[in-house]
């Protein structure tokens, strides 16, 4: 009897405690936990597919940068001797490096809309493609220092695609062997981008980029996309058109030789914009069923506006590739139009997200 009373008493107290412990679980159930109409899996599949290809390119770039580094090392980093004695091997390595960069960069742009827009992945965008150097923008600089094979440390040198582009095309004097003139394609003329880069910078940056692409791959595999991620990516990335058009306006593709911009020299920014918009179209396709369920007209309007924006950029790009030299004022006007369209799209997506009670991350 005594033991029964004990047991009853202990059980009662434990129950009181546990009931209390459970009481405050009044947190509202997030909408995302409900069965979703959105096809988020397709977004992840697209992302992982592109990253797989990106990894192949970054490994290629690493490998050819390493080949160039070994040649320079064998010449004891005497670049004049290197170029004089091994012009064919050097040219081959550097042209391959440029090709690998030209393949890798659009592949990244094709996922930038997702990587930069998803809070859990956006750090990779800062490192790989977006952030400035500590010298240009101390507040928003990349979060890493680049240690070179010779032990030098480049403090917050800027995003890795940018470092590699400026090294390979010679637009940053610090990464360039200015004393050596290298006619890489052996056509008898020294054209833009025909330079010998500092092999330490090239190898250091290519190695680190390959490392970060691997990390991005791991993070992307672990990423469980949510409706909030998808809407955030759209609302964050769509309205960045003016930034891209601004860098296009100041690039060699518009300003020509007068341009002082060091990056975006190899591929027109207009091409990047189209790639980014392609990835956002994939994201939109994923969440479109949700918006159709809310308002079919709105869903159709957003899709048509997004397609329209991409077609608009394609049109400008075609003209540029066709040889049209835009004036600065035309570039400004074209940028303003792109921004207006993008702002309208982001606005409509925000309204849909609010109506669906889906949070847009800050």
């Amino acid at each position: 009897m005594v033991h029964k009373t004990n047991l009853f008493f202990i059980v009662t107290l434990v129950l009181v405690w546990l009931v209390g412990a459970c009481a405050p679980v009044a947190t509202p159930t997030p909408a995302a936990q409900e069965t979703s109409l959105a096809d988020l899996g397709a977004i992840k599949t697209y992302l992982l597919g592109k990253i797989t290809n990106l990894k192949i390119s970054s490994t290629d770039l690493k490998s050819v940068s390493d080949a160039y580094y070994k040649l320079a090392q064998a010449a004891d980093f005497d670049y004049a001797a290197l170029w004089a004695n091994h012009p064919a091997e050097v040219a081959s390595a550097l042209l391959d490096a440029k090709t690998a960069w030209m393949v890798a960069s659009p592949l990244y742009e094709q996922i930038e809309g997702i990587v930069a827009g998803v809070p859990g992945l956006s750090e990779y965008d800062i490192i790989l493609d977006a952030s400035a150097s500590g010298e240009d923008d101390p507040e928003n600089a990349v979060p890493f220092d680049l240690t070179l094979p010779d032990g030098r440390v480049l403090s917050k040198p800027g995003n890795l695609f940018g470092v590699l582009e400026t090294a390979l095309w010679g637009t940053d004097p610090d990464y360039l062997i200015a004393a050596v003139e290298a006619d890489l394609d052996a056509d008898g003329a020294l054209e833009f981008g025909e330079v010998l880069p500092d092999a330490n910078v090239l190898k250091g940056a290519a190695d680190l980029m390959d490392e970060y692409v691997s990390k991005l791959e791991t993070s992307a595999q672990a990423w469980a996309p949510t409706e909030s991620d998808a809407f955030t990516a759209l609302v964050v990335m769509v309205p960045t058109m003016s930034e891209y058009f601004e860098s296009w306006k100041n690039s060699r593709f518009v300003a020509g030789e007068a341009s002082t911009q060091r990056d975006f020299v190899a591929i027109s920014r207009l091409s990047d914009i189209q790639d980014i918009l392609s990835s956002l179209q994939v994201v939109y396709a994923g969440v479109k069923p949700l918006i159709i369920n809310l308002d079919p007209d709105k869903a159709a309007q957003i899709e048509s506006d997004l397609d329209g924006l991409k077609a608009y950029v394609e049109g400008v790009y075609r003209q540029e590739q066709g040889g049209k030299q835009f004036t600065a004022e035309e570039a400004d006007l074209l940028g303003a139009e792109a921004q207006n369209r993008a702002t309208a799209i982001a606005g409509q997506i925000s309204q849909a997200a609010a109506a669906l009670n889906i949070a847009i991350e800050e």
Binding site: V2, T5, N6, F9, I10, T12, L13, V16, W17, G20, A21, C22, A23, P24, V25, A26, T27, P28, A116, P119, A141, P143, V235, M237, V238, P239, T240, S242, E243, D297, K298, Q301, S304, D305, G308, A328, E329, E330, D332, L333, L334, A336, E337, Q339, N340, R341, A342, T343, A344, A346, G347, S350, Q351, A353, A354, A355, A359, I360, E361, E362
Partner: protein, 783 residues
């Protein structure tokens, strides 16, 4: 008024006539508007390239305008329709003369007139409670230019949704609509003016003409608000200035004088009215910022001298922020009580002079003077403000926290880590004295994350207190601040939902019950165990301690409203100290419990040892008073801080009702524990009491270690890979850190060790006194 009603009825009839056809046949208005906009842009680009398609595109745009779209705009806003027609005519003329500049200006005129017409239709539809038409036409709008870091708001969309669900009134929906769209178009107006300056500097003549026309068009949408605030004459003058500006851009004249005049005419003009939740938010900011002014000032002044100029600067900043909030609310306050509002404006000025004088070292007012001015000002504002503003706005609190964290970042950038720490503490104090009560109930999992980020967390992003103390690099502090901000945003959203009265009562009750449970279990267990006549007297000192703690809690409650911010600043540290004392006392008592009550009750003859015991009697009584006091007050202090936020939100009545319920529940648990224990046989009762006290000790140790880690008085080593649900920490004091778990284990070891030590001593004692003890044993157990 009758005229207005007549017109509204007429328009309603027109809308009713057009409406079914519009919705059945035509494209959605937003799609029509976009077709016109993009066709006109294409026409301009063609014109600039001498492409003959320009005319085709213009025809396309004009054709899209005609039909039901045009009929609606013409019916509701004939002036806008007129401007659209005029714009098309001007574009045709510009096309004929191949003048891209004039074409661009006319294009902007048409587009902004369409926006104006769209706005009018939405407004009228809301008036007529025709939500479907309002929703259709709301798509004919622009948004604030979004960036990577700012998101377009959805206030108007949500207002229409709520109106459709009849959860807000027509008037509220109109207020939200105006606030959202006027704010958007005013932002676009300023953006157009800034871009105009830039285009002018770059010599972009076509862009200049377009941007000046855009600015004029945006202003047209805001014109009724301007006329309402400044009168028809002032409006005519601004229209003239915009016209001058447009003429200057078309004629390639210098634009700066006209632009300066436009800027001057727009100074202090705010088109968007504050919606009700924004009013509460601004009111919350106003009072919070004002409260912080004397706090900062007192820190910066000593013996009539400015000792810390930066603290004075902070006081100035808070004053300016409060002044800005006051300016936004001034018209509304004026409507409540013009006399008080004028007096408040004068006090603002006095306070501004006091701070400016100290800032320039002209005259250093005593801190008491600044406090007095501020107190009078706050009292005046509180008397004038409508009741709903005074309930406190969670959003306002988060704004203040954000601005404090901004100050912290600025201080870190300047290498002023002391100041950064001060700003961090202020931010935390606002959280602690504001939203934390609701946070601990509605989002307890976030509370732990936020505490870690504010203090000494050792996760992926380290705590700000830890980083500031280490003088960490800006980027590290920035990363933690960003993580904190994301978490704060998350909880702001959860807390933005207004609590129902029942929820407030429930929340208050749960807080009191949770905080009181430990104390009551300790007290009831110990007192229940003192049932033997000789030990009953020990109950009294515990009651004294309990009574004192309740008194201290009530005093804290009464004082808390006045000193809330400064108290909250030290809240965690105060809790840490009181908790440590409570543990020390509990350890002593546990030791005493096993070695005295247990052993003397069973074996020793109380009478024969009376002399020895009396020698330690005073210390024992003091210990019991302290136990009663610390057990209750450590919970009382936290409860008061939590409940204050609920009081600010919902008033004292509801909260006190919750307190009463929570208190009753805790007392009931106490009585049950007490009663059941007194009915148990002595030996069982002692075992149960021992288990309960041991359990409470474990929880207390765990929680205290957590608080010590939060305030940085104990290092934190997280257990990698171990994740616990938040309620395990909240109710059992167990957190996944090595220090916490090991010390809880040590506490368990202490309790069990004490028991076995007592058992061992009992056995030895029995062995030594078998002949005499048997009779006493029978007496003591009552068997």
């Amino acid at each position: 008024m009758r005229k207005l009603l007549k017109s509204l009825t007429l328009l309603t009839l027109i809308l009713a006539a057009i409406h079914p056809n519009v919705r059945a046949e035509a494209l959605p208005p937003a799609q029509v508007a976009e077709t016109i906009r993009s066709s006109l842009f294409a026409a301009q680009m063609s014109l600039q390239s001498n492409d003959p398609n320009a005319e085709i595109e213009l025809d396309h745009a004009e054709a899209a305008y005609r039909g039901s779209f045009q009929s609606m705009i013409a019916a509701v806003n004939p002036a806008a329709d007129e401007r659209i027609h005029e714009g098309f005519a001007r574009m045709r003329a510009a096309l004929a003369k191949t003048s891209p500049r004039k074409f661009a200006a006319a294009r902007a005129q048409v587009w902004t007139a369409i926006l104006n017409g769209g706005y009018s239709i939405v407004e009228l539809s809301i008036h007529n409670n025709d939500v479907a038409t309002a929703q259709d036409w709301l798509g004919v709008r622009e948004f604030r230019t979004a960036t990577r870091f700012s998101r377009p708001n959805a206030d108007a969309t949500l207002a229409l949704q709520r109106l459709a669900a009849q959860s807000i009134t027509t008037d509220d929906a109109l207020q939200f609509l105006r606030a959202d769209l006027f704010d958007t178009y005013q932002a676009r107006l300023y953006e157009a003016l800034r871009d105009l300056e830039s285009a002018d500097q770059n010599g972009f003549t076509i862009r200049r003409a377009e941007l000046a026309a855009l600015a004029a068009g945006y202003f047209d949408i805001l014109a009724p608000a301007y006329a309402e605030q400044r009168g028809a004459q002032a409006l005519d003058e601004v229209h003239r200035l915009f016209s001058d500006l447009q003429t200057a851009t078309i004629s390639e004249a210098t634009i700066q004088p006209a632009l300066d005049s436009v800027y001057a005419a727009l100074e202090n003009f705010r088109a968007a009215p504050l919606n009700p939740s924004e009013q509460s938010r601004r009111a919350g900011q106003l009072l919070r910022y004002l409260n912080l002014v004397p706090v900062e000032y007192e820190r910066g002044v000593s013996n009539g001298q400015v000792t810390k100029q930066l603290e004075i600067q902070e006081a100035v900043t808070f004053h300016e922020a409060a002044q800005a909030a006051f300016d936004d609310l001034r018209d509304l306050l004026d409507a409540q009580n013009p006399q008080n509002t004028d007096q408040a404006a004068q006090l603002f000025e006095t306070l501004g002079v006091q701070l400016a004088d100290a800032s320039t070292d002209t005259r250093v007012s005593a801190p008491e003077e600044v406090r007095e001015t501020t107190t009078r000002l706050i009292a005046l504002l509180e008397t004038t403000m409508p009741d709903e503003w005074k309930k406190g706005s969670t959003a306002g609190d988060f704004d203040v926290i954000e601005s404090m964290l901004d100050q912290m970042m600025t201080a870190v950038r300047n290498g002023e880590y002391d100041l950064a720490e001060s700003a961090r503490l202020e931010a935390y104090a606002v959280l602690e004295s504001g939203p934390e009560a609701r946070l601990s109930v509605l989002a307890p999992q976030s509370k732990i994350v936020i505490e870690d980020l504010f203090w000494n967390g050792q996760g992926e992003n380290k705590g700000l207190a830890f980083l500031i103390q280490q003088h960490a690099h800006l980027s590290e502090i920035k990363a933690s601040r960003t993580a904190l901000e994301a978490e704060l945003k998350n909880v702001e959203e959860i807390l933005s939902v207004q609590s129902a009265p029942l929820a407030i009562v429930g929340n208050a009750g749960i807080i009191v019950f949770r905080e009181g449970l430990e104390a009551v279990v300790i007290l009831a267990s110990l007192m229940g165990s003192m049932k033997a006549a000789e030990s009953r007297k020990y109950r009294r000192p515990m009651w004294w301690g309990t009574g004192l703690a309740l008194l201290a809690t009530i005093i804290t409650w009464l004082l808390a409203r006045g000193i809330l911010v400064s108290l909250a600043r030290y809240g965690e540290k105060l809790e840490a100290v009181v908790s440590l004392i409570a543990i020390a006392v509990l350890l002593l008592i546990t030791n005493w419990f096993f070695h005295k009550t247990y052993w003397t009750g069973w074996i020793a003859s109380f009478q024969s040892k009376k002399k020895r015991l009396l020698a330690g009697e005073a210390g024992l009584i003091l210990g019991l008073v302290s136990l009663g006091f610390t057990s209750v007050y450590r919970e009382g202090l936290e409860t008061v801080l939590f409940l204050q936020a609920l009081v600010l939100e919902s008033g004292t009545g509801l909260v006190l009702a919750g307190v009463a319920i929570g208190f009753l529940a805790t007392v009931l648990v106490g009585i049950v524990t007490f009663k059941v224990q007194t009915r148990l046989p002595y030996m069982d009762m002692l075992i149960i009491t021992g288990i309960l006290i041991g359990g409470v000790l474990l929880v207390m140790v765990g929680k205290t270690i957590h608080v010590l880690q939060v305030v940085g008085w104990m290092p934190t080593t997280p257990i990698t890979g171990m994740d616990m649900p938040y309620w395990v920490g909240m109710w059992f004091g167990t957190y996944p850190t090595w220090q916490g778990l090991l010390l809880q284990l040590a506490a368990a070891g202490f309790v069990i060790g004490s028991y076995y030590l007592a058992e061992n001593m009992k056995m030895r004692r029995r062995a030594n006194s078998v002949p005499t003890s048997l009779a006493q044993e029978g007496k003591a157990t009552g068997q």
